[in-house]
Protein backbone atom coordinates (compact mmCIF):
# COMPACT_ATOMS: atom_id res chain seq x y z
CA UNK A 1 0.00 0.00 0.00
CA UNK A 2 1.42 3.33 -1.03
CA UNK A 3 -0.28 5.28 1.72
CA UNK A 4 0.67 2.89 4.48
CA UNK A 5 2.06 4.78 7.44
CA UNK A 6 2.81 4.30 11.05
CA UNK A 7 -0.57 5.44 12.31
CA UNK A 8 -2.54 2.67 10.70
CA UNK A 9 -2.43 0.31 13.63
CA UNK A 10 -0.38 -2.44 15.21
CA UNK A 11 1.46 -5.12 13.34
CA UNK A 12 -1.19 -7.79 12.71
CA UNK A 13 1.37 -10.53 13.17
CA UNK A 14 1.60 -9.69 16.89
CA UNK A 15 -2.01 -10.71 17.29
CA UNK A 16 -1.42 -14.03 15.54
CA UNK A 17 1.62 -14.74 17.65
CA UNK A 18 -0.36 -13.98 20.80
CA UNK A 19 -3.14 -16.31 19.78
CA UNK A 20 -0.64 -19.09 19.15
CA UNK A 21 1.03 -18.45 22.47
CA UNK A 22 -2.20 -18.60 24.39
CA UNK A 23 -2.83 -22.11 23.14
CA UNK A 24 0.65 -23.47 23.66
CA UNK A 25 1.38 -22.26 27.19
CA UNK A 26 0.41 -23.96 30.42
CA UNK A 27 0.29 -27.54 29.12
CA UNK A 28 4.03 -27.74 29.69
CA UNK A 29 5.30 -29.73 32.68
CA UNK A 30 7.23 -27.56 35.13
CA UNK A 31 10.87 -28.52 35.49
CA UNK A 32 12.29 -28.94 39.01
CA UNK A 33 13.76 -25.76 40.49
CA UNK A 34 11.86 -23.65 38.04
CA UNK A 35 9.74 -22.02 40.73
CA UNK A 36 12.75 -20.55 42.50
CA UNK A 37 14.02 -19.04 39.25
CA UNK A 38 10.59 -17.58 38.64
CA UNK A 39 10.53 -16.01 42.10
CA UNK A 40 14.01 -14.60 41.54
CA UNK A 41 12.91 -12.84 38.36
CA UNK A 42 9.82 -11.57 40.10
CA UNK A 43 11.48 -10.49 43.32
CA UNK A 44 12.60 -6.91 42.49
CA UNK A 45 9.29 -5.92 40.97
CA UNK A 46 7.39 -7.67 43.72
CA UNK A 47 9.27 -5.91 46.51
CA UNK A 48 8.75 -2.48 44.96
CA UNK A 49 5.14 -3.30 44.21
CA UNK A 50 4.55 -4.30 47.80
CA UNK A 51 6.29 -1.33 49.39
CA UNK A 52 5.17 1.47 47.07
CA UNK A 53 1.85 0.28 45.73
CA UNK A 54 0.17 -2.39 47.84
CA UNK A 55 1.18 -0.83 51.14
CA UNK A 56 0.02 2.71 50.22
CA UNK A 57 -3.32 1.38 48.98
CA UNK A 58 -3.94 -0.38 52.27
CA UNK A 59 -2.44 2.41 54.36
CA UNK A 60 -4.70 5.03 52.74
CA UNK A 61 -7.66 2.95 53.83
CA UNK A 62 -6.27 2.70 57.36
CA UNK A 63 -5.52 6.45 57.48
CA UNK A 64 -9.07 7.28 56.46
CA UNK A 65 -10.30 6.26 59.94
CA UNK A 66 -7.86 8.50 61.79
CA UNK A 67 -7.05 12.11 62.39
CA UNK A 68 -3.50 13.04 61.51
CA UNK A 69 -1.61 14.68 64.38
CA UNK A 70 1.86 14.91 62.86
CA UNK A 71 4.67 12.87 61.43
CA UNK A 72 5.41 9.95 63.70
CA UNK A 73 8.36 9.75 66.07
CA UNK A 74 7.51 6.75 68.23
CA UNK A 75 10.10 3.99 67.92
CA UNK A 76 8.78 0.65 66.75
CA UNK A 77 12.04 -1.21 66.31
CA UNK A 78 15.54 -0.30 67.24
CA UNK A 79 18.50 -2.44 66.28
CA UNK A 80 21.85 -1.20 67.41
CA UNK A 81 24.80 -3.50 67.02
CA UNK A 82 28.44 -2.80 66.59
CA UNK A 83 28.24 -2.93 62.82
CA UNK A 84 24.84 -1.66 62.13
CA UNK A 85 22.09 0.43 63.64
CA UNK A 86 18.56 0.80 62.46
CA UNK A 87 15.60 2.60 63.90
CA UNK A 88 12.09 2.13 62.62
CA UNK A 89 9.57 4.73 63.71
CA UNK A 90 5.84 4.70 63.15
CA UNK A 91 4.82 6.59 60.07
CA UNK A 92 2.41 9.04 61.62
CA UNK A 93 0.85 10.06 64.93
CA UNK A 94 -2.82 9.27 64.60
CA UNK A 95 -6.01 9.70 66.55
CA UNK A 96 -8.76 7.21 65.85
CA UNK A 97 -11.99 8.90 64.78
CA UNK A 98 -13.95 5.99 63.30
CA UNK A 99 -16.18 6.85 60.40
CA UNK A 100 -16.13 10.57 61.11
CA UNK A 101 -14.01 11.34 58.03
CA UNK A 102 -16.60 9.65 55.86
CA UNK A 103 -19.65 11.15 57.53
CA UNK A 104 -18.29 14.71 57.50
CA UNK A 105 -18.17 14.55 53.70
CA UNK A 106 -21.94 14.86 53.69
CA UNK A 107 -21.80 18.36 55.14
CA UNK A 108 -18.68 19.54 53.30
CA UNK A 109 -19.84 22.17 50.84
CA UNK A 110 -16.48 22.46 49.11
CA UNK A 111 -16.39 18.71 48.52
CA UNK A 112 -19.85 18.90 46.96
CA UNK A 113 -18.66 21.79 44.81
CA UNK A 114 -15.59 19.78 43.71
CA UNK A 115 -17.76 16.77 42.87
CA UNK A 116 -20.13 18.99 40.95
CA UNK A 117 -17.32 20.65 38.98
CA UNK A 118 -15.71 17.34 38.14
CA UNK A 119 -19.02 15.87 37.04
CA UNK A 120 -19.83 18.96 34.98
CA UNK A 121 -16.48 18.83 33.18
CA UNK A 122 -16.93 15.08 32.71
CA UNK A 123 -20.40 15.32 31.23
CA UNK A 124 -19.44 18.02 28.76
CA UNK A 125 -15.88 17.06 27.95
CA UNK A 126 -15.94 13.29 27.48
CA UNK A 127 -18.75 13.13 24.87
CA UNK A 128 -17.34 16.17 23.08
CA UNK A 129 -13.85 14.74 22.87
CA UNK A 130 -14.84 11.19 21.97
CA UNK A 131 -17.22 12.54 19.33
CA UNK A 132 -14.53 14.71 17.79
CA UNK A 133 -11.96 11.92 17.95
CA UNK A 134 -14.38 9.57 16.22
CA UNK A 135 -15.18 12.08 13.47
CA UNK A 136 -11.48 12.77 12.87
CA UNK A 137 -10.70 9.05 12.85
CA UNK A 138 -13.42 8.35 10.30
CA UNK A 139 -12.45 11.35 8.16
CA UNK A 140 -8.78 10.37 8.20
CA UNK A 141 -9.69 6.81 7.32
CA UNK A 142 -11.55 7.87 4.16
CA UNK A 143 -9.65 6.76 1.07
CA UNK A 144 -10.21 9.98 -0.90
CA UNK A 145 -8.39 12.19 1.60
CA UNK A 146 -4.88 13.11 0.45
CA UNK A 147 -1.99 13.48 2.90
CA UNK A 148 -3.73 11.37 5.50
CA UNK A 149 -0.46 10.50 7.22
CA UNK A 150 0.47 14.16 7.60
CA UNK A 151 -2.91 15.12 9.03
CA UNK A 152 -2.85 12.22 11.46
CA UNK A 153 0.55 13.34 12.69
CA UNK A 154 -0.60 16.94 13.04
CA UNK A 155 -3.71 16.01 15.03
CA UNK A 156 -1.66 13.73 17.27
CA UNK A 157 0.99 16.39 17.99
CA UNK A 158 -0.55 17.66 21.28
CA UNK A 159 0.55 14.34 22.83
CA UNK A 160 4.04 15.84 22.94
CA UNK A 161 2.94 18.86 24.98
CA UNK A 162 3.83 18.70 28.65
CA UNK A 163 0.65 18.85 30.74
CA UNK A 164 1.75 21.86 32.76
CA UNK A 165 3.23 23.68 29.75
CA UNK A 166 0.11 23.48 27.65
CA UNK A 167 -2.04 24.55 30.59
CA UNK A 168 0.07 27.67 30.89
CA UNK A 169 -0.44 28.44 27.24
CA UNK A 170 -4.19 28.08 27.60
CA UNK A 171 -4.05 30.37 30.60
CA UNK A 172 -2.51 33.02 28.34
CA UNK A 173 -4.67 32.48 25.28
CA UNK A 174 -7.86 32.62 27.31
CA UNK A 175 -7.19 35.93 29.05
CA UNK A 176 -9.88 38.59 28.64
CA UNK A 177 -7.57 40.33 26.19
CA UNK A 178 -6.00 37.12 24.88
CA UNK A 179 -5.65 35.51 21.51
CA UNK A 180 -8.98 33.65 21.51
CA UNK A 181 -11.01 36.73 22.36
CA UNK A 182 -9.07 38.68 19.72
CA UNK A 183 -10.13 36.15 17.09
CA UNK A 184 -13.73 36.23 18.36
CA UNK A 185 -14.00 40.01 18.34
CA UNK A 186 -12.37 40.35 14.93
CA UNK A 187 -14.98 37.91 13.60
CA UNK A 188 -17.64 40.21 15.02
CA UNK A 189 -18.52 37.91 17.91
CA UNK A 190 -18.69 39.06 21.54
CA UNK A 191 -15.67 38.43 23.75
CA UNK A 192 -16.15 35.70 26.33
CA UNK A 193 -14.97 35.93 29.99
CA UNK A 194 -13.08 32.61 29.71
CA UNK A 195 -11.41 32.80 33.11
CA UNK A 196 -13.65 35.07 35.13
CA UNK A 197 -17.13 33.59 34.73
CA UNK A 198 -17.78 30.36 36.58
CA UNK A 199 -19.48 28.72 33.61
CA UNK A 200 -16.88 29.72 31.02
CA UNK A 201 -13.94 28.89 33.25
CA UNK A 202 -15.18 25.31 33.34
CA UNK A 203 -15.56 25.43 29.58
CA UNK A 204 -11.94 26.60 29.32
CA UNK A 205 -10.84 23.45 31.13
CA UNK A 206 -13.07 21.42 28.82
CA UNK A 207 -11.47 23.07 25.79
CA UNK A 208 -7.93 22.60 27.06
CA UNK A 209 -8.39 18.92 27.89
CA UNK A 210 -10.13 18.31 24.58
CA UNK A 211 -7.27 19.96 22.71
CA UNK A 212 -4.69 17.80 24.51
CA UNK A 213 -6.37 14.39 24.24
CA UNK A 214 -8.48 14.29 21.07
CA UNK A 215 -5.54 13.20 18.90
CA UNK A 216 -4.57 10.53 21.40
CA UNK A 217 -8.03 9.00 21.32
CA UNK A 218 -8.18 9.41 17.55
CA UNK A 219 -5.17 7.09 17.22
CA UNK A 220 -6.87 4.41 19.31
CA UNK A 221 -10.07 4.74 17.27
CA UNK A 222 -8.15 4.68 13.96
CA UNK A 223 -6.56 1.41 15.00
CA UNK A 224 -10.03 0.12 15.84
CA UNK A 225 -11.30 1.16 12.41
CA UNK A 226 -8.61 -0.99 10.72
CA UNK A 227 -10.21 -4.04 12.28
CA UNK A 228 -13.69 -3.40 10.86
CA UNK A 229 -14.16 -5.96 8.05
CA UNK A 230 -14.41 -4.26 4.65
CA UNK A 231 -17.08 -6.77 3.54
CA UNK A 232 -19.54 -5.23 5.99
CA UNK A 233 -19.31 -1.89 4.18
CA UNK A 234 -19.68 -3.61 0.81
CA UNK A 235 -22.71 -5.49 2.01
CA UNK A 236 -24.24 -2.27 3.35
CA UNK A 237 -23.60 -0.59 0.01
CA UNK A 238 -25.39 -3.37 -1.83
CA UNK A 239 -28.32 -2.83 0.50
CA UNK A 240 -28.32 0.80 -0.60
CA UNK A 241 -27.00 2.35 2.59
CA UNK A 242 -25.67 5.90 2.31
CA UNK A 243 -22.63 7.27 4.12
CA UNK A 244 -24.44 8.23 7.29
CA UNK A 245 -26.29 4.93 7.46
CA UNK A 246 -23.03 3.04 6.98
CA UNK A 247 -21.52 5.07 9.83
CA UNK A 248 -24.55 4.48 12.02
CA UNK A 249 -25.12 0.77 11.33
CA UNK A 250 -21.62 -0.54 10.55
CA UNK A 251 -18.92 1.69 12.01
CA UNK A 252 -20.47 2.46 15.41
CA UNK A 253 -21.49 -1.11 16.31
CA UNK A 254 -18.17 -2.51 15.10
CA UNK A 255 -16.21 0.08 17.08
CA UNK A 256 -18.30 -0.38 20.20
CA UNK A 257 -15.63 -2.07 22.38
CA UNK A 258 -12.97 0.49 21.38
CA UNK A 259 -15.39 3.37 21.89
CA UNK A 260 -16.25 2.05 25.32
CA UNK A 261 -12.61 1.78 26.22
CA UNK A 262 -12.01 5.36 25.11
CA UNK A 263 -15.06 6.55 27.03
CA UNK A 264 -14.05 4.93 30.27
CA UNK A 265 -10.36 5.88 30.16
CA UNK A 266 -11.40 9.46 29.40
CA UNK A 267 -13.81 9.39 32.32
CA UNK A 268 -11.08 8.17 34.66
CA UNK A 269 -8.79 10.83 33.20
CA UNK A 270 -11.31 13.51 34.05
CA UNK A 271 -11.51 12.31 37.63
CA UNK A 272 -7.73 12.70 37.83
CA UNK A 273 -7.68 16.29 36.50
CA UNK A 274 -5.18 18.29 38.49
CA UNK A 275 -2.59 20.29 36.58
CA UNK A 276 -5.07 22.01 34.25
CA UNK A 277 -7.32 23.60 36.90
CA UNK A 278 -4.35 24.39 39.14
CA UNK A 279 -2.50 26.25 36.40
CA UNK A 280 -5.32 27.70 34.32
CA UNK A 281 -7.56 28.72 37.19
CA UNK A 282 -4.97 29.20 39.87
CA UNK A 283 -6.54 26.71 42.26
CA UNK A 284 -10.24 26.86 41.59
CA UNK A 285 -10.89 30.50 40.70
CA UNK A 286 -13.37 32.07 40.21
CA UNK A 287 -15.10 31.27 43.53
CA UNK A 288 -14.17 27.57 43.58
CA UNK A 289 -16.09 26.98 40.37
CA UNK A 290 -13.29 24.93 38.83
CA UNK A 291 -11.84 23.13 41.84
CA UNK A 292 -11.61 19.43 40.95
CA UNK A 293 -11.75 16.49 43.26
CA UNK A 294 -8.02 15.65 43.08
CA UNK A 295 -7.18 19.29 43.63
CA UNK A 296 -9.42 19.33 46.68
CA UNK A 297 -7.67 16.22 48.00
CA UNK A 298 -4.32 17.92 47.45
CA UNK A 299 -5.43 21.05 49.32
CA UNK A 300 -6.91 19.08 52.20
CA UNK A 301 -3.80 16.97 52.55
CA UNK A 302 -0.90 19.30 51.90
CA UNK A 303 -2.19 22.78 52.68
CA UNK A 304 -4.59 22.06 55.57
CA UNK A 305 -2.66 18.89 56.57
CA UNK A 306 -5.87 16.96 57.22
CA UNK A 307 -4.37 13.74 55.90
CA UNK A 308 -7.01 11.47 57.42
CA UNK A 309 -9.88 13.28 55.78
CA UNK A 310 -7.96 13.49 52.49
CA UNK A 311 -7.41 9.73 52.65
CA UNK A 312 -11.13 9.17 53.06
CA UNK A 313 -11.73 11.41 50.04
CA UNK A 314 -9.13 9.41 48.09
CA UNK A 315 -10.95 6.20 48.92
CA UNK A 316 -14.25 7.61 47.76
CA UNK A 317 -12.57 8.56 44.50
CA UNK A 318 -10.94 5.14 44.18
CA UNK A 319 -14.35 3.56 44.73
CA UNK A 320 -15.90 5.68 41.98
CA UNK A 321 -13.09 4.86 39.55
CA UNK A 322 -13.25 1.15 40.40
CA UNK A 323 -16.98 1.02 39.79
CA UNK A 324 -16.51 2.74 36.44
CA UNK A 325 -13.73 0.33 35.47
CA UNK A 326 -15.82 -2.64 36.52
CA UNK A 327 -18.58 -1.40 34.26
CA UNK A 328 -16.07 -1.12 31.44
CA UNK A 329 -14.74 -4.64 31.94
CA UNK A 330 -18.25 -6.08 32.10
CA UNK A 331 -19.65 -4.32 29.08
CA UNK A 332 -16.49 -4.77 27.04
CA UNK A 333 -16.09 -8.42 28.04
CA UNK A 334 -19.65 -9.29 27.18
CA UNK A 335 -19.08 -7.92 23.71
CA UNK A 336 -15.90 -9.81 22.92
CA UNK A 337 -17.23 -13.14 24.21
Amino acid sequence: MATHDSLSGPDPSIRDRLRFARQSVSERMPTPGEGIVGYMFLLPAFLLFGVFLAFPILYTFYLSFFRFEGVGDGTLLWIDTEFFSYQLTNIADLQFVGLQNYTSMFSDALFHQAMFNTTFILVVQVPLMVGLALLFAVALDASFVKLRGVFRTVLALPISANLVAYSTVFLLMMQDAGLVNYVLTSLGLPAIPWLTSSFWSRMTIVGAVTWRWTGYNMIILLAGLQNVPKQLYEAAEIDGANRIEKFRYVTIPQLRPVLLFVFVTSTIGTFKLFSEPVIINGGGAPLDSTITIVQYIYQTAFIDFRLGYASALTYVLIAIVSVLSAIQLNVGGEDSA
Partner: protein, 307 residues
Amino acid sequence: MREETRREAVWQFLTYGFILLGAVVTLVPLYWIFVASTLKESEFLSSTDPTLIPGGNFFNNFQSLQARDNVQFVGHVGEMTQYVDLGPFYFAYDFWNLWDMGAIESSIFVAGVYTILSLLLCSMAGFAFAKYEFRFKQPIFYAILATLILPIQLLVIPLFLLMSQIGLTNSYWAIILPWLANPLGIFLMRQNMRSIPDALLESARMDGATEFQLYYKIALPTMKSSLAALSIILFLFQWNLFLFPLVILDQGKYTIPVAINQLVGAQRVYYDQIMVAATLSIIPIFVLFLFLQKQFVSGILAGSVKE
Protein backbone atom coordinates in the same frame (compact mmCIF):
# COMPACT_ATOMS: atom_id res chain seq x y z
CA MET B 1 -25.61 10.38 -11.94
CA ARG B 2 -24.63 14.05 -12.03
CA GLU B 3 -26.56 14.61 -8.78
CA GLU B 4 -24.51 11.78 -7.29
CA THR B 5 -21.12 13.24 -8.23
CA ARG B 6 -22.12 16.66 -6.99
CA ARG B 7 -23.12 15.31 -3.63
CA GLU B 8 -19.85 13.41 -3.51
CA ALA B 9 -17.93 16.64 -4.20
CA VAL B 10 -19.77 18.49 -1.44
CA TRP B 11 -19.09 15.64 0.93
CA GLN B 12 -15.37 15.63 0.14
CA PHE B 13 -15.25 19.40 0.52
CA LEU B 14 -16.87 19.20 3.95
CA THR B 15 -14.51 16.43 5.05
CA TYR B 16 -11.47 18.43 4.00
CA GLY B 17 -12.84 21.53 5.71
CA PHE B 18 -13.34 19.60 8.94
CA ILE B 19 -9.85 18.10 8.85
CA LEU B 20 -8.23 21.44 8.02
CA LEU B 21 -10.12 23.20 10.80
CA GLY B 22 -8.99 20.53 13.23
CA ALA B 23 -5.39 20.82 12.05
CA VAL B 24 -5.43 24.61 12.45
CA VAL B 25 -6.98 24.51 15.92
CA THR B 26 -4.40 21.89 16.90
CA LEU B 27 -1.43 23.76 15.52
CA VAL B 28 -2.20 27.35 16.55
CA PRO B 29 -1.53 26.93 20.30
CA LEU B 30 1.68 24.99 19.60
CA TYR B 31 2.84 27.54 17.04
CA TRP B 32 1.87 30.38 19.32
CA ILE B 33 4.01 29.03 22.19
CA PHE B 34 6.96 29.15 19.84
CA VAL B 35 6.14 32.61 18.48
CA ALA B 36 5.48 34.12 21.90
CA SER B 37 8.79 32.84 23.20
CA THR B 38 10.55 34.94 20.55
CA LEU B 39 8.65 38.15 21.32
CA LYS B 40 8.72 40.74 24.07
CA GLU B 41 5.99 40.25 26.67
CA SER B 42 4.26 43.49 25.64
CA GLU B 43 4.18 42.33 22.02
CA PHE B 44 2.38 39.04 22.47
CA LEU B 45 0.12 40.16 25.29
CA SER B 46 -1.17 43.13 23.32
CA SER B 47 -4.87 42.69 22.74
CA THR B 48 -5.17 45.14 19.87
CA ASP B 49 -2.59 43.67 17.58
CA PRO B 50 -1.45 40.13 18.38
CA THR B 51 1.16 38.86 15.98
CA LEU B 52 1.88 35.39 14.67
CA ILE B 53 5.28 36.29 13.24
CA PRO B 54 8.36 35.27 15.24
CA GLY B 55 10.51 38.07 16.62
CA GLY B 56 14.10 38.14 17.73
CA ASN B 57 13.79 38.24 21.48
CA PHE B 58 14.21 34.57 22.32
CA PHE B 59 17.67 34.88 23.86
CA ASN B 60 16.74 37.89 25.97
CA ASN B 61 13.74 36.00 27.31
CA PHE B 62 15.90 32.96 27.90
CA GLN B 63 18.47 35.01 29.79
CA SER B 64 15.85 36.59 32.01
CA LEU B 65 14.44 33.11 32.70
CA GLN B 66 17.90 31.87 33.62
CA ALA B 67 18.49 34.91 35.85
CA ARG B 68 15.59 34.04 38.15
CA ASP B 69 16.65 32.89 41.55
CA ASN B 70 13.69 30.72 42.54
CA VAL B 71 13.77 28.47 39.46
CA GLN B 72 16.73 27.02 37.64
CA PHE B 73 15.32 25.95 34.30
CA VAL B 74 18.37 24.96 32.27
CA GLY B 75 21.50 23.98 34.11
CA HIS B 76 24.80 25.81 34.10
CA VAL B 77 28.45 25.01 34.69
CA GLY B 78 28.93 24.05 38.31
CA GLU B 79 31.79 24.60 40.62
CA MET B 80 34.58 22.06 40.47
CA THR B 81 35.38 20.43 43.76
CA GLN B 82 38.93 19.94 44.84
CA TYR B 83 40.58 16.77 43.67
CA VAL B 84 41.56 14.70 46.61
CA ASP B 85 42.48 11.69 44.63
CA LEU B 86 42.41 10.81 40.96
CA GLY B 87 40.65 7.53 41.53
CA PRO B 88 37.69 6.78 39.27
CA PHE B 89 35.21 7.28 42.06
CA TYR B 90 36.35 10.81 42.78
CA PHE B 91 36.51 11.55 39.12
CA ALA B 92 32.92 10.48 38.65
CA TYR B 93 31.87 12.58 41.62
CA ASP B 94 33.64 15.61 40.27
CA PHE B 95 32.31 15.07 36.81
CA TRP B 96 28.81 14.98 38.24
CA ASN B 97 29.36 18.39 39.79
CA LEU B 98 30.69 19.95 36.61
CA TRP B 99 27.15 20.70 35.62
CA ASP B 100 24.45 22.06 37.91
CA MET B 101 21.28 20.48 36.66
CA GLY B 102 18.24 22.61 35.92
CA ALA B 103 14.63 21.48 35.53
CA ILE B 104 15.11 20.30 31.94
CA GLU B 105 18.05 18.06 32.80
CA SER B 106 16.31 16.86 35.95
CA SER B 107 13.25 15.85 33.98
CA ILE B 108 15.25 14.09 31.27
CA PHE B 109 17.45 12.40 33.86
CA VAL B 110 14.57 11.26 36.06
CA ALA B 111 12.42 10.10 33.14
CA GLY B 112 15.40 8.34 31.54
CA VAL B 113 16.48 6.52 34.69
CA TYR B 114 12.88 5.64 35.47
CA THR B 115 12.30 4.27 31.96
CA ILE B 116 15.43 2.10 31.94
CA LEU B 117 14.93 0.69 35.44
CA SER B 118 11.24 0.12 34.92
CA LEU B 119 11.82 -1.65 31.60
CA LEU B 120 14.25 -3.94 33.36
CA LEU B 121 11.93 -4.70 36.27
CA CYS B 122 8.79 -5.08 34.19
CA SER B 123 10.45 -7.33 31.62
CA MET B 124 11.94 -9.54 34.33
CA ALA B 125 8.59 -9.84 36.08
CA GLY B 126 6.85 -10.38 32.75
CA PHE B 127 9.35 -13.10 31.87
CA ALA B 128 8.69 -14.85 35.17
CA PHE B 129 4.92 -14.73 34.66
CA ALA B 130 5.14 -15.83 31.04
CA LYS B 131 7.75 -18.57 31.14
CA TYR B 132 7.92 -20.09 34.61
CA GLU B 133 5.54 -22.09 36.70
CA PHE B 134 5.55 -21.35 40.39
CA ARG B 135 3.24 -21.40 43.34
CA PHE B 136 0.86 -18.43 43.79
CA LYS B 137 1.62 -17.29 40.24
CA GLN B 138 -2.00 -16.58 39.39
CA PRO B 139 -2.93 -14.74 42.63
CA ILE B 140 0.16 -12.52 42.42
CA PHE B 141 -0.50 -11.74 38.79
CA TYR B 142 -4.12 -10.85 39.41
CA ALA B 143 -3.20 -8.70 42.41
CA ILE B 144 -0.89 -6.70 40.15
CA LEU B 145 -3.50 -6.60 37.41
CA ALA B 146 -6.13 -5.27 39.82
CA THR B 147 -4.08 -2.15 40.51
CA LEU B 148 -4.20 -1.30 36.79
CA ILE B 149 -7.56 0.36 37.22
CA LEU B 150 -6.66 2.76 39.95
CA PRO B 151 -4.83 5.99 39.23
CA ILE B 152 -1.57 5.44 41.09
CA GLN B 153 -0.95 9.17 41.32
CA LEU B 154 -3.67 9.19 43.97
CA LEU B 155 -1.44 7.43 46.47
CA VAL B 156 0.28 10.71 47.23
CA ILE B 157 -0.60 10.83 50.93
CA PRO B 158 0.79 7.49 52.13
CA LEU B 159 3.75 7.81 49.75
CA PHE B 160 4.56 11.22 51.18
CA LEU B 161 4.50 9.83 54.72
CA LEU B 162 6.52 6.80 53.67
CA MET B 163 9.15 8.91 51.92
CA SER B 164 9.50 11.24 54.87
CA GLN B 165 10.07 8.22 57.11
CA ILE B 166 12.71 6.58 54.95
CA GLY B 167 14.46 9.89 54.35
CA LEU B 168 13.78 10.18 50.65
CA THR B 169 12.00 13.53 50.59
CA ASN B 170 13.59 15.90 48.13
CA SER B 171 15.30 12.99 46.39
CA TYR B 172 14.78 11.93 42.79
CA TRP B 173 14.41 8.37 44.04
CA ALA B 174 11.16 9.45 45.66
CA ILE B 175 9.60 10.12 42.27
CA ILE B 176 11.27 7.16 40.54
CA LEU B 177 10.80 4.26 42.97
CA PRO B 178 7.01 4.28 43.58
CA TRP B 179 6.00 3.51 40.00
CA LEU B 180 8.95 1.33 38.95
CA ALA B 181 6.93 -1.87 39.22
CA ASN B 182 4.45 -0.51 36.70
CA PRO B 183 1.37 -2.79 36.52
CA LEU B 184 0.75 -1.92 32.88
CA GLY B 185 4.38 -2.65 32.02
CA ILE B 186 4.33 -6.02 33.78
CA PHE B 187 1.06 -6.91 32.10
CA LEU B 188 2.28 -5.94 28.62
CA MET B 189 5.59 -7.76 28.95
CA ARG B 190 3.87 -10.87 30.23
CA GLN B 191 1.40 -10.85 27.33
CA ASN B 192 4.11 -10.40 24.72
CA MET B 193 6.67 -12.76 26.24
CA ARG B 194 4.24 -15.64 26.10
CA SER B 195 4.97 -15.72 22.37
CA ILE B 196 8.59 -16.77 22.93
CA PRO B 197 8.69 -20.47 22.03
CA ASP B 198 9.49 -22.79 24.92
CA ALA B 199 11.53 -24.94 22.54
CA LEU B 200 13.90 -22.06 21.93
CA LEU B 201 14.51 -21.58 25.66
CA GLU B 202 14.82 -25.33 26.14
CA SER B 203 17.47 -25.69 23.44
CA ALA B 204 19.43 -22.79 24.91
CA ARG B 205 19.28 -24.54 28.28
CA MET B 206 20.69 -27.65 26.62
CA ASP B 207 23.55 -25.54 25.35
CA GLY B 208 24.33 -24.58 28.93
CA ALA B 209 22.83 -21.09 29.10
CA THR B 210 21.96 -19.88 32.59
CA GLU B 211 18.43 -18.77 33.33
CA PHE B 212 19.50 -15.15 33.42
CA GLN B 213 21.15 -15.55 30.00
CA LEU B 214 17.84 -16.87 28.66
CA TYR B 215 16.31 -13.61 29.81
CA TYR B 216 18.79 -11.12 28.48
CA LYS B 217 20.12 -12.99 25.45
CA ILE B 218 16.86 -14.45 24.14
CA ALA B 219 13.83 -12.82 25.75
CA LEU B 220 14.97 -9.19 25.65
CA PRO B 221 16.21 -9.12 22.03
CA THR B 222 13.00 -10.68 20.72
CA MET B 223 10.94 -8.12 22.62
CA LYS B 224 12.59 -5.06 21.09
CA SER B 225 9.47 -3.52 19.59
CA SER B 226 7.35 -4.09 22.71
CA LEU B 227 10.11 -2.63 24.83
CA ALA B 228 10.27 0.44 22.59
CA ALA B 229 6.51 0.97 22.84
CA LEU B 230 6.57 0.47 26.60
CA SER B 231 9.48 2.86 27.01
CA ILE B 232 7.43 5.64 25.36
CA ILE B 233 4.56 5.02 27.79
CA LEU B 234 6.89 5.05 30.77
CA PHE B 235 8.88 8.10 29.68
CA LEU B 236 5.80 10.22 29.04
CA PHE B 237 4.22 9.10 32.32
CA GLN B 238 7.22 10.30 34.29
CA TRP B 239 7.68 13.41 32.13
CA ASN B 240 4.15 14.63 32.87
CA LEU B 241 4.10 13.71 36.54
CA PHE B 242 3.13 16.81 38.51
CA LEU B 243 1.33 16.19 41.77
CA PHE B 244 3.84 13.98 43.54
CA PRO B 245 6.98 15.93 42.52
CA LEU B 246 5.18 19.08 43.65
CA VAL B 247 4.64 17.55 47.07
CA ILE B 248 7.98 15.84 47.56
CA LEU B 249 10.65 17.97 45.83
CA ASP B 250 12.17 21.20 47.12
CA GLN B 251 13.38 24.17 45.17
CA GLY B 252 16.57 23.38 43.27
CA LYS B 253 15.44 19.89 42.36
CA TYR B 254 12.30 20.77 40.48
CA THR B 255 11.29 18.87 37.38
CA ILE B 256 9.80 20.79 34.44
CA PRO B 257 6.12 20.70 35.49
CA VAL B 258 6.88 21.92 39.00
CA ALA B 259 9.29 24.57 37.72
CA ILE B 260 6.72 26.00 35.31
CA ASN B 261 4.13 25.94 38.06
CA GLN B 262 6.56 27.95 40.15
CA LEU B 263 6.80 30.55 37.38
CA VAL B 264 3.02 30.79 37.06
CA GLY B 265 2.41 31.10 40.79
CA ALA B 266 4.97 33.85 41.35
CA GLN B 267 4.14 37.34 42.66
CA ARG B 268 4.89 39.01 39.36
CA VAL B 269 4.31 36.59 36.49
CA TYR B 270 6.71 37.01 33.57
CA TYR B 271 4.88 35.49 30.65
CA ASP B 272 7.83 35.81 28.28
CA GLN B 273 9.88 33.60 30.58
CA ILE B 274 7.02 31.12 30.85
CA MET B 275 6.76 30.87 27.08
CA VAL B 276 10.47 30.14 26.77
CA ALA B 277 10.14 27.49 29.46
CA ALA B 278 7.12 25.98 27.70
CA THR B 279 8.96 25.93 24.36
CA LEU B 280 11.99 24.26 25.91
CA SER B 281 9.79 21.69 27.64
CA ILE B 282 7.89 20.77 24.51
CA ILE B 283 10.80 20.59 22.05
CA PRO B 284 12.45 17.37 23.34
CA ILE B 285 9.22 15.37 23.18
CA PHE B 286 8.25 17.05 19.92
CA VAL B 287 11.48 15.91 18.27
CA LEU B 288 11.12 12.44 19.76
CA PHE B 289 7.57 12.29 18.46
CA LEU B 290 8.54 13.20 14.91
CA PHE B 291 11.40 10.69 14.80
CA LEU B 292 9.76 7.86 16.74
CA GLN B 293 6.18 8.26 15.55
CA LYS B 294 5.75 4.54 15.04
CA GLN B 295 6.82 3.81 18.61
CA PHE B 296 4.55 6.55 19.99
CA VAL B 297 1.59 5.09 18.16
CA SER B 298 2.33 1.53 19.19
CA GLY B 299 2.89 2.80 22.72
CA ILE B 300 -0.53 4.41 22.82
CA LEU B 301 -2.10 1.29 21.37
CA ALA B 302 -0.21 -0.98 23.74
CA GLY B 303 -1.56 1.09 26.61
CA SER B 304 -5.05 0.58 25.31
CA VAL B 305 -5.01 -3.22 25.17
CA LYS B 306 -7.43 -4.84 27.46
CA GLU B 307 -8.06 -8.47 27.92
